[in-house]
C-alpha cells in the first residue's frame, strides 16, 4: 500500500475483542499505517453480513477489510 494523490478509503471492520483491541495496541506501540484506513468497531466478525461490504463498495469506499 502506498500513499498517492488519490484519496482512497478503506474500511476495516474489526471485532471488538481482538482486531479492534489489536489496533489499539498498534497505537500504543506507535506503529504507522496509512491514514486512509478507517477502523469500524463491530461486536463480532460474525455480524458481517455480506451486504455490509457490498454496500460499502457501492457507496464508494475502495476496499473493505474484515479483521477478527
Amino acid at each position: 500500500m502506498t500513499d498517492t494523490d488519490y484519496e482512497y478509503q478503506i474500511v476495516a471492520y474489526s471485532c471488538t475483542y481482538c482486531a479492534y483491541n489489536a489496533a489499539d495496541l498498534a497505537g500504543g506501540l506507535r506503529m504507522q499505517y496509512p491514514s486512509q484506513v478507517k477502523i469500524v468497531e463491530i461486536p463480532c466478525t460474525g455480524r458481517i453480513d455480506i451486504l455490509l461490504p457490498l454496500k460499502a463498495i457501492e457507496a464508494g469506499v475502495d476496499g473493505v477489510m474484515v479483521a477478527g
Binding site: A23, D24, G27, M31, S35, V40, P43, R47, D49
Partner: protein
C-alpha cells in the same frame, strides 16, 4: 479478600463479586494480570493470551463490588473464618489513580531507564511507567526504591541521579533545572565540590564511581554556552517583613534565594566590593573562573535582592532598628591565622586568605603589586591543607619559586591527594613532617628564610593542645623572602558586641541550634562557615537552605523545627545485589571516562582553568554508567509534564485494615532463576535465554515487536534448542512444574508458525502432555511442524566466544543405536520451572498456614483447596505447579467454597449507584454533543484538535462541540453530565481513545444525566489515529475529522436499548452422583440453595466406589462415606436415585426438566442452573490380550485385588508384575491419571511385599506436579521402568513352557536404553485402561444443547478461561465428564461449578437486553438458519409464534442469554433478525459518512 491479581485471583474475585460479595483484591504489582499477561499465546488453542485475558482485566477493573488494592501486601490476618481482620501495607504509587488519565506524558518525560521486568529485562522501562499497555487499573505509577546514596551523601541533598539521567538523554536544560532545585551554584560545585556523592556511589562496588562533579560541570558549561536569559524578579508579598543577610557568600545567597522566593524582601550586606564570598575571593581563578561565579550570583540577585557591596556591618542592633525582622549572619571565615612563632610579624609574612583575596581582586595583575605586601621570588607556604595548596599553586602562577611545608606526613596531609600531586607536577616543593620553628629575618625586618625541624610524630591532647615529637639534630632552613601562613581560618565577628545577646563559642563561631540554626537571640540566625568553621561550598549551600527555611518559618510564625517526615531508605546495594545484577548481565564493567586537562607547561604561567569539560559524547557515556539506584530520581520532570496534576512524589505508604469473611490466596509463582544453574551459562552467554524471555520475544507487543532475534548480535536464530526441566525434577526440586513441556512445545509451534525456516529441537525426559487436547497438540507439533524431540537431559552448555553460538552433547536413542551427538545452536531457551518466591513464603508464615519445604501451601484432607487455617483458601501454583485452566478452576472452586460458608452475607456490603430516571427521547430530533479530547499532547500533539472540534460543530444534528484537555478526567466527566442537561443533548459523541477502556465511563456520565447509555458513540482518534499517524499532522487531522463525522452520523441514529428483568428460579440441578456431583450439590445446598441431585444408579458414589489405595494420604472410601453422610443429612438436597433426565427446556435461570425413574415414573422440576457431573468409566478393550486370561487385569481390578476387595486370579502372591501404560484410546489422548495410579499401586504392592518384581512399560511417565515424588519413590523402591514408543509396542503372549504344564505369561518389550528386546515372565499383567467418557454424555448433549468433543467428553466454553462453563449459559460441568482427573481435582471443579452457579442463583433476576438480537416474527420463515448458526444455542423456533404469511412457528431469541454477536442477523436469509445497537442502518451510516464528506440523509429506521 483475594491476594494476587493474576488470572486465578481475578477469576476468584469476579466469581465472588458476581455472587454479591464485596471483594478486596490485593495485588503487589501496580496492575493486575500476573504472569498470563506476559504470555504471547496459550496452549493448546494458540489463542492470544492478552486477547483472552483482556476482557477479564476490564471486567475486574470495572466491577462495582471489587476494590483493587495495587502495590499492596498483606501484613497479617487475625480472627476466624467469617470474621477476619487483615492488615494490608500499601506502598505509595506516587500517582493519584483517580486523576491519572494514562496519557503516558510522565513516562515520556522520565529520564530514568531500568530493566523492564514485564519484558524480562529485555528492554528498559522508565521509573514512571504502566506495567503493560492494557494494564488495569489503567494508570501509571512511579517506582521509587529509596534515596540514591549520592543524594543521601550530599549535604544539600543534590539529586545527582536525576540530572545524570537527563544528561544521558541530552536534556541539558532539564538537567540544569534539576541541579538548581537543590543548589544555586551548579557551575561552582561542578568545579570545586568535594563530591561526597562520589564516595557514596554504589558504582564503587563495581569499578569506579560516576564522575558526578565533572558531569555537573559539563552540563553547566553546556547551558552557559547560551546567552543568559533574564531572570524574572519574584513578587514580594510580605513587604513588611524584610530580612537582612550579612555576607554574600554561598550560604547567605542560598538563604537569600529561598527567602525571597517566599515573597519576603531581602537585603544582603557585603563588606567586600564583590559578592560570592570565599568562592570569589578564596578560590583561585584557575580552579573557578570569575565569570561562572558572577553569573550564578547574578541569577540570585536578579530575583530582586537588594545587594549592598562594600557595606560592612558594624552593629547588629542597628539592623533591627532599621526594621529588619530577621537577620542572618553568614560572614564566612575569612580571617587567617598567624601562628605565634618568632618572626611572625616580619615584613614578607603573609596570611593565606588575604593573599588569595588580593590575587583575585587583581592586585597582583601585570606584576603591579600596588599597596599589597610584596611577594618575593622565593615563597614558603606553611600548611598542608587545600588552601595552602591554593596559595602554592597561585604563587607558582605568579612566577615564584614555591616551597610548602606542613606538620603532617605526606599520607596524612589534609589536602586532597590529587591537589598535592598537581602542585608537585607544577613545581611546588613539598616538605611534609616539619615543625615551624621560626621565621628568619634580616636586620631591616625582612624575611630571609624559614627554620624547620623534622617531625617524628605529633598529637593533640583533649584540650586541643599540640604535642610534637621532633627529630633531634634535624634543624634546617629554607631560604626565602616570603612566608605565607595557611594554618586555618575563622570568622570575623567583631561586629557582634558582647551585649548583643548572640552567643559565641570557644572556637570563635556563633552558637546556634543545630537543627534550626537560630542563634541565641530571637530573630538572629547564623549559618555557613561562621557557624561550622571552614567547610566546603556544598555545606554552605546546605546550611543556607536550612537557615532559609528556618527564617521563613520564623517569619510565618510557625515552629522553627520542621515537622518530622517519614524518611525513605537509602539504597545501598549489597555486594550480593551487585553480583546478581552483573550475573544477569544488567551491569557491565566500564571504568570512568577521563576528563581532559590542560598540560602542566601550558598552565603554570597563567590562571587558565586546568580541568576541561567533557564533550557531549563522553558526558553521555559517563552518565550511562549510573546504576539508577533510587529508581525514581525525584527530578520532577513528570510532575512538570503531568497535565492533570496527578503526581505527588511525597506520597507515603499506608496501612489499611480490612474486615473480611474469607480469604483466597492466589499469589502465583516465580520462574526459577536460571542464573543459579551455572552450567547453562544464563547471564554469561547472551544467547541463552529463559522461556519467559522467549515468550516476550514472540509477543507482538514485546521488546522486539515479535521479531525473533539473538541478544548478542540481533541476528535471526535459525537453530533453537529448548532445554526442559531447568529448575524442575532435579536435586533441588523434587516436583514437576507441570507446564514446561507444553509451553516449550507451544513456543516452538508459534516460532515455527511465524518463521517456517526454523530448526527446532526440544530436549526433555518425559513429555508431560496430560490435559485435554495436549497430547493431540504434541502430536501436531511433531507431525505438522516438524519439531524434534530428544529424550536427553542436557548437563551443560559451551559457548563459542567468537560467534556466541552454543553447543552441547546429548544422547540420541531414537534410532537403532545409542549415540552421543554434539550439536550447535544459535539460541538456547531454558524452560524454567515454577517456584514460590520468598515474599509468598513470608505471606504464608504471616498468615500462619502450613507450607512445605518449597513454600507450596499444604491443604487439608477432604478439602483440597483449604489451607491449614480454616477460611483461608489457596489456589493456583501456590498449591502445586499448574497451568492456567486448572488455576481458573481452583479460583472458582475457592469462590464456591467461600460462597458456601458465607452465603448469608451476600449483598450486605455491595453498593448500588443511584441514577435519575431515564428521559424519553423518542419524540426528539437528534441533538448531538461532541467532546473532542486533547489527551494532553497524545492527541493534541499530533493533530489539530480545535480544528476537529470546529469541524464537528458544522455537522448535521450537532448542537454542541467542545474540546477538553482530558475528557476522562473527573471534572470533565461531571461536565459532560451537566452539559447534556444544560443543552438538552440526547446523543453524545466522545472523540478520544478506545471504547474498550473508556466507553463504560462515558456511558455512565450520560446515564447520570438521564440518558439511556446506548445513546453514546465514541470515535477513537488516539490509538487509531493520532498515535498511528504521528508523523503526519495534516493527515491525522483529516482522519480525525472523518472519524468524528462517521461517529456523529451513527450517533444520530442510535436508539435507547431497554433492559428488562427476568426472574430466576433458585433451584439447582446436578446430574450424576459421583464425587463431583455430590460435592457440587453440597456446595450449593450448604449455601442455602435447594438442589435436585439425579443419579441413574441405585446408590451415590460413581467411580469413587472403585478407588481404594490412598493417594496423598487420603483414603478414598473415607471421602465417599463422608460425602454420602453429608448429602443424607442435608435437607436442601433432594436425591433422585435410579433416575435420568428425559427432557429439558428453558434457559439460564429458568429451566424445566423432566425426570424419569427406572420404573417409568416421571417428575417435573424447575431449576435455574444445571451442573453435569456424569463422570467416566474405565475402558475395557481387547488390547494386550485383555479378556483372554484372568491374569491380564485392568488397573482398577488390580487395585481391588491388592486391597482385598476382589479375589486374586492367582493362588499365591505374585512374584512378578508387569504394568503396561497407554492402552487403547490412551494412544490418542492422555487419560492423565493412569501413570500415577499405576505407580501408586506399584508402591502399594512394594509395601506389602518388597521383593515383588514390578516392571512398568510406558511411553512417557506423566506424574505432573508433586506426583513426581511418587515416581522418584517407585524408582528408589526398585520398580523397573521400560520406555516404549508407539512403533515398538510391547507384546503380551500366553504360552506353555516345556518344563511346565501351566500357561505362562510372556511380555516382550524393546528397551531403548539397552537397545535390545527384553523378555519378562510375570505372574500378572496389569493394563492401565484409560478413563473413557460416560456414554450418556451424547444423549445429555442433545437434551441440554451442549457440546461434546471428539472423544465424547463435554466441551467447555474456553479451554483456558472458562473450563467449567458450557458455551450455553447456565449449564456447567465438573469431574470426569469433562476429562479424566483425580478425586481432588473433580471435587475442586465441582466447587467451581457451584461457584459459577452461585453467580446466577444469588441474583433475584437477570438483566436482559441491550446489544441483543431481536426477531421480527412476521418476516421469519422458520428456516432454522439462526438455530444452526448460533454458537450459544440460543435461538429456538416457538410453535406459538405467528411467522411470515401467518404460518405458525417463528424463531425466538431469548434476550437473557443472547450474547449479541450478531451471527444470526448476518445469516438470516429473510433479514428477520436485527442486532440492536448494531443495525444495518447504523453501521452503513458510518460508511456513507466516510465517503461523502457532506452529510447524507439516511432513514432513521431500518427498512
Amino acid at each position: 479478600m483475594v491476594v494476587g491479581g493474576g488470572i486465578a485471583g481475578m477469576q476468584a474475585s469476579l466469581d465472588l463479586a458476581d455472587q454479591g460479595f464485596k471483594v478486596y483484591l490485593v495485588e503487589k504489582e501496580t496492575a493486575i494480570g500476573g504472569k498470563m499477561a506476559q504470555l504471547d499465546k496459550t496452549f493448546p488453542t494458540n489463542d492470544c493470551a492478552m486477547c483472552t485475558i483482556s476482557p477479564k482485566l476490564v471486567e475486574t477493573g470495572s466491577h462495582p463490588n471489587i476494590e483493587i488494592l495495587t502495590n499492596a501486601e498483606v501484613l497479617d490476618v487475625s480472627g476466624n473464618v467469617g470474621d477476619f481482620t487483615a492488615r494490608v501495607h500499601q506502598k505509595p504509587r506516587y500517582i493519584d489513580i483517580d486523576k491519572c488519565v494514562a496519557c503516558n506524558d510522565c513516562a515520556e518525560a522520565c529520564p530514568v531507564g531500568i530493566p523492564n521486568p514485564f519484558n524480562e529485562g529485555l528492554n528498559n522501562k522508565h521509573a514512571a511507567f504502566k506495567l503493560y499497555p492494557q494494564a488495569v487499573p489503567n494508570a501509571y505509577a512511579i517506582e521509587k526504591a529509596g534515596i540514591a546514596p549520592c543524594r543521601d551523601a550530599c549535604p544539600a541533598g543534590q539529586r545527582a541521579q536525576g540530572y545524570i539521567a537527563l544528561i544521558q538523554e541530552g536534556r541539558w536544560d532539564d538537567s540544569m533545572r534539576v541541579i538548581k532545585m537543590d543548589n544555586p551554584f551548579p557551575g561552582i560545585c561542578g568545579r570545586i565540590c568535594n563530591h561526597r556523592c562520589e564516595d557514596a556511589c554504589n558504582r564503587n562496588k563495581v569499578d569506579e564511581p560516576i564522575n558526578i562533579r565533572a558531569l555537573k560541570r559539563f552540563v553547566t558549561d553546556k547551558v552557559y554556552e547560551n546567552p543568559r536569559e533574564p531572570i524574572i524578579p519574584v513578587e514580594i508579598t510580605n513587604s513588611d517583613q524584610p530580612v537582612a543577610i550579612i555576607g554574600a557568600g554561598p550560604c547567605g545567597l542560598t538563604a537569600a534565594q529561598d527567602i525571597i522566593k517566599e515573597g519576603f524582601p531581602v537585603t544582603v550586606f557585603e563588606a567586600m566590593p564583590v559578592a560570592g564570598g570565599m568562592l570569589r575571593l578564596g578560590v583561585p581563578e584557575y580552579r573557578l573562573p570569575t565569570r561562572i561565579i558572577e553569573r550564578e550570583v547574578q541569577d540570585i540577585i536578579d530575583l530582586g535582592i537588594d545587594l549592598k557591596l562594600n557595606h560592612r556591618i558594624e552593629d547588629l542592633d542597628a539592623l533591627f532598628d532599621q526594621g529588619f525582622k530577621a537577620v542572618l549572619i553568614s560572614v564566612g571565615a575569612h580571617e587567617g591565622i598567624r601562628l605565634p612563632i618568632p618572626g611572625a610579624n616580619l615584613d614578607g609574612v603573609l596570611i593565606n586568605t588575604l593573599f588569595l583575596r588580593d590575587v583575585r581582586l587583581g592586585k597582583y595583575d601585570n606584576g603591579v603589586e600596588s599597596d599589597t605586601p610584596m611577594l618575593g621570588e622565593r615563597v614558603v607556604i606553611l600548611g598542608g591543607g587545600n588552601v595552602a595548596i591554593d596559595c602554592a599553586r597561585t604563587a607558582i602562577r605568579l612566577g615564584k619559586e614555591v616551597h610548602l611545608a606542613c606538620l603532617e606526613d605526606r599520607e596524612n596531609m589534609p589536602a586532597h591527594d590529587w591537589e598535592i600531586e598537581a602542585a608537585i607536577a607544577e613545581g611546588v616543593h613539598v616538605y611534609p613532617s616539619r615543625s615551624f620553628e621560626r621565621i628568619l629575618g634580616d636586620p631591616e625586618g625582612n624575611v630571609t628564610g624559614m627554620e624547620f625541624l623534622v617531625v617524628e610524630q605529633f598529637s593533640f591532647d583533649e584540650s586541643g593542645g599540640l604535642h610534637v615529637e621532633k627529630k633531634p639534630d634535624s634543624k634546617h632552613e629554607i631560604a626565602c623572602d616570603t612566608v605565607i601562613f595557611s594554618v586555618g581560618q575563622r570568622a570575623g565577628l567583631a561586629f557582634i558586641p558582647d551585649d548583643a545577646g548572640v552567643g559565641i563559642t570557644r572556637a570563635n563561631t556563633i552558637a546556634t541550634n543545630p537543627n534550626t540554626l537560630a542563634a541565641t537571640r530571637e530573630g538572629v540566625f547564623a549559618a555557613g562557615d561562621s557557624v561550622s568553621g571552614t567547610s566546603f561550598v556544598i555545606e554552605a549551600v546546605a546550611s543556607g537552605h536550612t537557615v532559609g527555611q528556618s527564617i521563613i518559618r520564623y517569619l510565618q510564625g510557625k515552629p522553627l523545627e520542621p515537622p518530622p517526615q517519614p524518611e525513605l531508605p537509602v539504597v545501598n546495594l549489597s555486594d550480593q545485589e551487585i553480583s546478581d545484577r552483573i550475573a544477569r548481565g544488567e551491569i557491565v564493567h566500564q571504568s570512568r571516562v577521563p576528563t581532559p586537562e590542560v598540560q602542566v607547561d601550558e598552565r603554570i604561567h597563567n590562571f587558565v582553568e586546568i580541568e576541561q569539560a567533557y564533550d557531549e559524547e563522553s558526558a553521555k557515556k559517563e552518565a550511562a554508567r549510573c546504576l539508577s539506584c533510587g529508581i525514581c530520581s525525584e527530578c520532577n520532570s513528570c510532575v512538570i509534564a503531568c497535565g492533570t496534576d496527578a503526581i505527588d512524589l511525597n506520597m507515603f505508604a499506608q496501612e489499611k485494615t480490612l474486615n473480611i469473611g474469607g480469604i483466597i490466596l492466589a499469589p502465583g509463582y516465580q520462574t526459577y532463576q536460571a542464573e543459579l544453574s551455572q552450567e547453562y551459562g544464563f547471564g554469561r552467554y547472551p544467547n541463552v535465554i529463559t522461556s519467559m524471555q522467549f515468550e516476550r520475544l514472540l509477543s507482538a507487543s514485546g521488546p522486539t515487536l515479535g521479531h525473533l532475534e539473538r541478544i548478542s548480535d540481533k541476528t535471526f536464530p535459525k537453530r533453537i534448542a529448548f532445554l526442559q526441566c531447568i529448575g524442575s525434577r532435579d536435586q533441588n526440586h523434587d516436583y514437576c512444574s507441570s507446564v514446561c513441556c507444553m509451553y516449550a512445545t507451544k513456543e516452538a509451534v508459534l516460532a515455527k508458525d511465524h518463521f517456517p525456516e526454523l530448526d527446532l529441537h526440544i530436549f526433555l525426559m518425559d513429555m508431560r502432555a496430560f490435559s485435554k487436547g495436549y497430547q493431540q497438540y504434541y502430536q501436531r507439533a511433531q507431525d505438522n511442524y516438524g519439531i524434534h524431540y530428544h529424550r536427553s537431559r542436557i548437563s551443560g552448555i559451551y559457548e563459542d566466544p567468537a560467534t556466541h553460538n552454543l553447543s552441547f552433547i546429548y544422547a540420541d536413542n531414537e534410532g537403532d543405536q545409542l549415540e552421543r551427538i554434539r550439536a550447535e545452536f544459535d539460541l538456547v531457551v531454558l524452560s524454567v520451572g515454577m517456584e514460590i518466591s520468598e515474599s509468598v513464603r513470608n505471606l504464608g508464615r504471616q498468615l500462619g498456614i502450613e507450607l512445605d519445604d518449597y513454600g507450596f501451601c499444604h491443604t487439608v484432607q477432604f478439602n483440597p483447596i483449604e489451607s491449614s487455617r480454616p477460611g483461608i483458601y489457596a489456589v493456583g501454583p501456590f498449591r502445586e505447579p499448574k497451568d492456567i485452566s486448572e488455576s481458573v478452576v481452583e479460583a472458582s472452586g475457592a469462590a464456591g467454597a467461600i460462597g458456601s460458608i458465607l452465603g448469608q452475607s451476600r449483598f450486605t456490603l455491595t453498593t448500588i449507584k443511584d441514577y435519575p430516571p431515564e428521559r424519553d427521547v423518542s419524540e426528539e430530533e437528534p441533538r448531538v454533543g461532541v467532546f473532542v479530547c486533547h489527551c494532553g499532547t497524545n492527541i493534541g500533539g499530533y493533530l489539530d484538535v480545535p480544528e476537529v472540534t470546529e469541524y464537528a460543530a458544522t455537522l448535521p444534528h450537532i448542537v454542541h462541540a467542545e474540546d477538553n484537555l482530558y475528557t476522562c478526567s473527573q471534572d470533565s466527566i461531571k461536565h459532560i453530565t451537566e452539559t447534556v442537561i444544560e443543552k438538552g443533548l440526547n446523543r453524545v459523541v466522545v472523540s478520544s481513545c478506545s471504547t474498550l477502556t473508556h466507553q463504560p465511563l462515558f456511558r455512565d456520565s450520560i446515564r447520570m444525566a438521564g440518558l439511556n447509555p446506548y445513546l453514546f458513540e465514541m470515535a477513537n482518534i488516539r490509538n487509531q489515529c493520532s498515535w498511528v499517524h504521528s508523523n503526519d499532522k495534516p493527515k491525522a487531522t483529516a482522519k480525525a475529522k472523518d472519524l468524528v463525522r462517521m461517529s456523529a452520523a451513527r450517533a444520530a441514529l442510535l436508539t435507547p436499548q431497554n433492559t428488562v428483568n427476568v426472574p430466576i428460579d433458585k433451584h439447582g440441578l446436578v446430574v450424576g452422583g459421583g464425587a463431583a456431583g455430590m460435592t457440587a450439590a453440597l456446595t450449593l445446598a450448604e449455601s442455602g440453595f435447594p438442589v435436585h441431585l439425579v443419579e441413574k444408579n441405585p446408590e451415590l458414589g460413581g467411580q469413587l466406589r472403585h478407588i481404594f489405595t490412598p493417594l496423598n494420604g487420603k483414603d478414598p472410601q473415607k471421602i465417599l462415606n463422608e460425602l454420602v453422610h453429608r448429602i443424607d443429612s442435608n435437607q436442601n438436597i433432594a436425591v433422585h436415585l435410579n433416575s435420568q433426565i428425559s427432557n429439558t427446556s428453558g434457559f439460564k435461570g429458568n429451566f424445566t426438566s423432566t425426570l424419569i425413574t427406572d420404573h417409568g415414573l416421571e417428575e417435573t422440576i424447575n431449576h435455574g442452573v444445571v451442573i453435569l457431573t456424569t463422570g467416566g468409566e474405565e475402558y475395557r478393550g481387547p488390547e494386550y490380550g485383555f479378556g483372554s486370561d484372568p491374569r491380564i487385569l485392568t488397573q482398577q481390578n488390580f487395585e481391588e485385588i491388592i486391597t482385598g476387595h476382589q479375589t486374586s486370579p492367582l493362588d499365591k502372591d505374585p512374584d512378578s508384575i508387569v504394568m503396561i501404560l497407554c492402552v487403547g484410546p490412551a494412544e490418542k489422548y492422555c487419560a492423565r491419571i493412569c501413570c500415577t495410579v499405576a505407580i501408586k499401586n506399584a508402591l502399594a504392592i512394594k509395601q506389602q511385599k518388597p521383593d515383588t518384581q514390578v516392571t512398568i512399560i510406558y511411553k512417557d511417565i506423566r506424574t505432573y506436579g508433586f506426583k513426581e515424588r511418587l515416581y522418584t519413590e517407585a524408582r528408589e523402591q526398585g520398580v523397573t521402568f521400560i520406555r516404549y514408543d508407539i512403533d515398538h509396542k510391547p507384546e503380551v503372549k500366553i504360552s506353555q513352557p516345556s518344563n511346565s504344564n501351566e500357561d505362562s505369561l510372556t511380555v516382550l518389550a524393546w528397551d531403548k536404553t539397552l537397545q535390545r528386546m527384553v523378555e519378562i515372565h510375570p505372574d500378572l499383567v496389569v493394563l492401565s485402561m484409560p478413563v473413557i467418557p460416560n456414554p450418556d454424555n451424547k444423549n445429555l448433549s442433545n437434551q441440554f444443547k451442549v457440546s461434546i468433543d471428539n472423544e465424547g467428553f463435554f466441551m467447555e466454553a474456553h479451554v483456558k478461561l472458562r473450563p467449567i462453563d458450557f458455551a450455553t449459559e447456565g449449564i456447567f460441568m465438573a469431574g470426569m465428564a469433562h476429562y479424566p482427573k483425580f478425586i481432588d481435582e473433580s471435587m475442586i471443579q465441582a466447587q467451581a461449578a457451584a461457584s459459577r452457579a452461585f453467580r446466577i442463583l444469588s441474583q433475584d433476576s437477570l438483566i436482559a437486553g441491550g446489544r441483543v438480537a431481536i426477531v421480527d416474527p412476521e418476516k421469519c420463515t422458520g428456516c432454522l438458519t439462526c438455530v444452526r448458526v448460533c454458537p450459544f444455542e440460543v435461538p429456538i423456533i416457538k410453535p406459538d409464534l405467528v411467522g411470515v404469511g401467518k404460518i405458525m412457528g417463528a424463531a425466538y431469541i431469548e434476550p437473557a442469554v443472547c450474547q449479541g454477536c450478531g451471527i444470526c442477523s448476518a445469516e438470516c436469509p429473510a433479514k428477520a433478525i436485527q442486532l440492536m445497537h448494531f443495525t444495518a442502518t447504523q453501521m452503513q451510516a458510518k460508511v456513507h459518512a466516510l465517503v461523502q464528506s457532506e452529510p447524507v440523509s439516511v432513514p432513521l429506521l431500518d427498512p
